[in-house]
Amino acid sequence: MKNDVLEKDGMKKIDLQSLTLYIGAVAILIIFTVVCRLAGKNFLTFGNIQNVITQSSVIAVIAIGQSVVILTGGIDLSVGSTVGFVGILGGLLIKSGMPIGVVCLLLVVTGILIGACNGALISYGKIPAFIVTLGSLQIIRGVTMVLNSGKPISGFPEGLKAIMNTKIFGMPISILYVFILYAIMMTIMTKTRLGRWIYSIGGNAKAAKLAGVKTKKIEVYSYIISGIFAAIGGILLLSRLSYADPNAGSGYELDSIAAVVIGGIAMSGGKGNIGNTLVGALILGMLKCGLQILNVPVYFQTIIIGLAIITAVFFDKAKERRAE
């Protein structure tokens, strides 16, 4: 009998937690639908659901990488400025006449390099992730400004816009990107060695090392992954706006972390489900969208979003509190 209880407990814990999250997400959806209807507006329309996903897509993509880093017990504050950097660099390259495909590739490579620098300093240099990425946040932002003397870039060919603004089966293609990227990363995290090793570093790095996992290398990889997704996020944003702004992405570090934590990944690393990060990002997106549709003044929006973040996680932790 005892074993029975434990069996359930061990396996289903994740699912139970996810359940709270899904219930929360659906609750928000229902609340907004009802309230909007009362206010004579539409929330739950096909078009608007698409909107929410498209609006959340950049954060959702960045949050994939952030999840990976947080799962190792780290943090990446440089994702926001990477988005800005990638935008300006990409803008300059496209303007110089390089084919868009090549530019995208180069930008992803840039993301890899940024991630590798962060990762190397953190894992081999033993500098806390918070410091390294706070530093690189500043450095990258500075370099972005220097790159085009602080000026934005616009006037891009249609091809760039097409990346993000195409429709496929009547749906914005961004939805497809988000789902594919999440599917890939969820597979990697649950079904491959790399993924399990990332989890093991967050859970107990020493144990992993003694068991033969090359923890330092894996840690670097996780920052590289974060760099890649930040770069992809930057490309998506660039394409969505068809405009490169050196300040783009500022504040995305906190937004992406919020998505990750609402999704239930512990800041201390080691446990959590990367798929739920998407739900976290969508919850944030829904809140923002719903409140704007209801024309709630912006400062009440901030307050409500703040409350919602806390409340969401509050319910998430109900079980832990009861366990005491």
Binding site: K2, N3, V5, L6, E7, D9, G10, M11, K13, T187, T190, K191, T192, R193, G195, R196, W197, Y199, S200, G202, G203, N204, K206, A207, A208, K209, L210, A211, G212, V213, K214, G270, K271, E324
Partner: protein
């Protein structure tokens, strides 16, 4: 004679400029169980960690199968068939047991993780050691003993040529130990070289073939275990004799200082009632998972109990607050020093002072007094540390345990609940600790001692409460005729005889 499978020669290692290994030596033959013996802090674990490349050695050579090897990472050592169960657990609490067992050597199918096989294979090794838990249970849910068994399963699941066990039995009971020895014997017959570290003298003779004794980081000698006895080994190790006789307790009074009535906690503790008299040492024995630790934590107020009452010296506790218990003179020494007993990153002084801050001055605390008290305990318990300001994480396992004991000894309470107090402590130091426990009861304190070491239980306790599946199966008075077998049968089959 067979060739040595492993030779370590001239090994030296220093930490922060202090030599902890000096020209150490170890030779292991295939198919032998080689015991490594030495006082706490003698350098046994360090030597092992050098073998597995967890530490870098300063000088010396390691010959494996006759060839000089130089492993650069733990991975290389594992790949070469060197498998280590470290003294301190190295498990990832956030993931299931099977993942811990197969970390770094995951099964894959088409490049993707094959969970099914891993679960099946883990189950096999867990059965072997007698761990009856589902492999998908998270490690964070396991007790210390169960974690120890996971470590064993993890080590034997490797393709081993040399298996190192650093105090594998410190946290488990005789039943599991017997299983472990079966496994060891099987590996032995396959020609695996086994290095075995333990402070439980009796089992060394049961399992070991030869024994290398170390002192202060240096090699002392290697003896054949069938040509020596316990006293001689003890002498080699600590330089004096240690007695294993029970001493009569003259301080026991009739006054009941702690009374536990009908305690329930989840389904782990069922209707437990207990009485502890003044001056008594009450042992609590039982198999792994019998709920001894849970019981102690319920009594001390760390767990919220559903039903039942606890009264101290006639005063019923409001319950569920550790602080209340401590204020009323009852303290608990955790079995899990790493997770619950110590703040590893803090100094010896900080750890000793923490529960006793009230005693170091009023508004502002006196560091001098703390230093003096800590210094006293360092010499009294022979804690091998270089100063009171040394970080606990840099002490050897046994010495860390002594720090845990020191911090509670100084609390000067009336009731001490010791959970596996001598876990990982060498024979010499055990004796000092027993002596201190006797001094405590002499001063009028009472002790509950939870221990898996029945030798120690028989030696120290006035009576033994045996637990089975969350209940107290029997309370056996420790009279001349009580034997380990009596306790064991009670723990296994319940106490159909007297009491209750």
């Amino acid at each position: 004679m067979k060739e040595n499978i492993l030779e370590m020669k001239g090994i030296s290692k220093s930490f922060y400029g202090v030599k902890v290994l000096n020209d150490a030596k170890l030779e292991v033959k295939p198919g032998e169980v080689h015991v490594l013996l030495g006082e706490n802090g003698a350098g046994k674990s360090t030597l092992i960690k050098i073998l597995s490349a967890a530490y870098k050695k300063e000088c010396g050579i390691i010959k494996f199968n006759g060839e000089c090897v130089e492993f650069k990472s733990p991975k290389e050592a594992i790949d070469n068939g060197i498998s280590v169960i470290y003294q301190e657990f190295n498990l990832n609490p956030c993931v299931p047991i099977f993942e811990n067992i197969y970390i770094g050597k995951e099964f894959t199918k088409n490049g993707l993780i094959d969970k099914k096989t891993a679960i099946k294979e883990s189950k096999k090794y867990m059965d072997l050691i007698g761990l009856k838990v589902d492999p998908t249970v998270l490690v964070s849910e396991l007790s210390v003993a169960q974690k120890q068994m996971v470590e064993i399963a993890k080590a034997i699941s490797n393709d081993v040529k040399i298996l190192v066990l650093d105090e594998p039995t410190a946290a488990i009971t005789d039943k599991e130990t017997a299983k472990l020895f079966e496994i060891i014997n099987e590996l032995k017959s396959d020609g695996v070289g086994i290095i075995y570290i333990s402070h439980r003298m009796s089992e060394l003779f049961e399992i070991g073939d030869r024994c290398t004794v170390m002192r202060d980081g240096e090699y002392v000698s290697t003896v054949n275990l069938n040509e020596t006895d316990c006293d001689e080994l003890t002498k080699l190790m600590v330089g004096r004799k240690v007695s294993f006789e029970k001493v009569e307790n003259k301080y026991i009074k009739d006054e009941v200082v702690l009374e536990v009535k009908n305690l329930y906690y989840k389904n782990l503790i069922k209707d437990v009632s207990l009485k502890l008299r003044k001056g008594e040492i009450l042992g609590i024995a039982g198999l792994v998972g019998a709920g001894r630790t849970e019981l102690a934590k319920c009594i001390i107020g760390a767990y919220k109990t559903k039903r039942g009452s606890i009264s101290l010296k006639g005063k019923t506790l409001k319950g569920n607050s550790i602080r209340e218990s401590i204020d009323n003179g009852m303290v608990y020494l955790s079995e899990d020093r790493k997770d619950e007993g110590l703040i590893l990153m803090h100094t010896v002084l900080d750890n000793v002072a923490l529960p006793n801050l009230n005693r170091f001055g009023g508004l502002l605390l006196s560091k001098d007094k703390m230093k003096q008290v800590t210094q006293d305990f360092i010499s009294k318990l022979k804690i091998k540390t270089h100063s009171p300001f040394y970080k606990v994480e840099n002490l050897s396992g046994g010495n860390q345990q002594k720090v845990v004991i020191a911090k509670w000894l100084f609390s000067d309470s009336d009731i001490y609940i010791f959970d596996e107090p001598t876990r990982g402590i060498d024979v010499g130091a055990r004796d000092e600790i027993y002596e201190i426990m006797r001094q405590l009861i002499e001063k009028g304190a009472s002790i509950i001692m939870i221990s898996s070491d029945l030798v120690e239980v028989l030696k120290m306790c006035d009576s033994v409460a045996v637990m089975k599946e969350g209940e107290i199966a029997a309370v056996l008075p420790n009279e001349d005729n009580l034997t380990q077998e009596d306790i064991l049968s009670c723990a296994l089959y319940g106490g159909n005889n007297d009491e209750e």
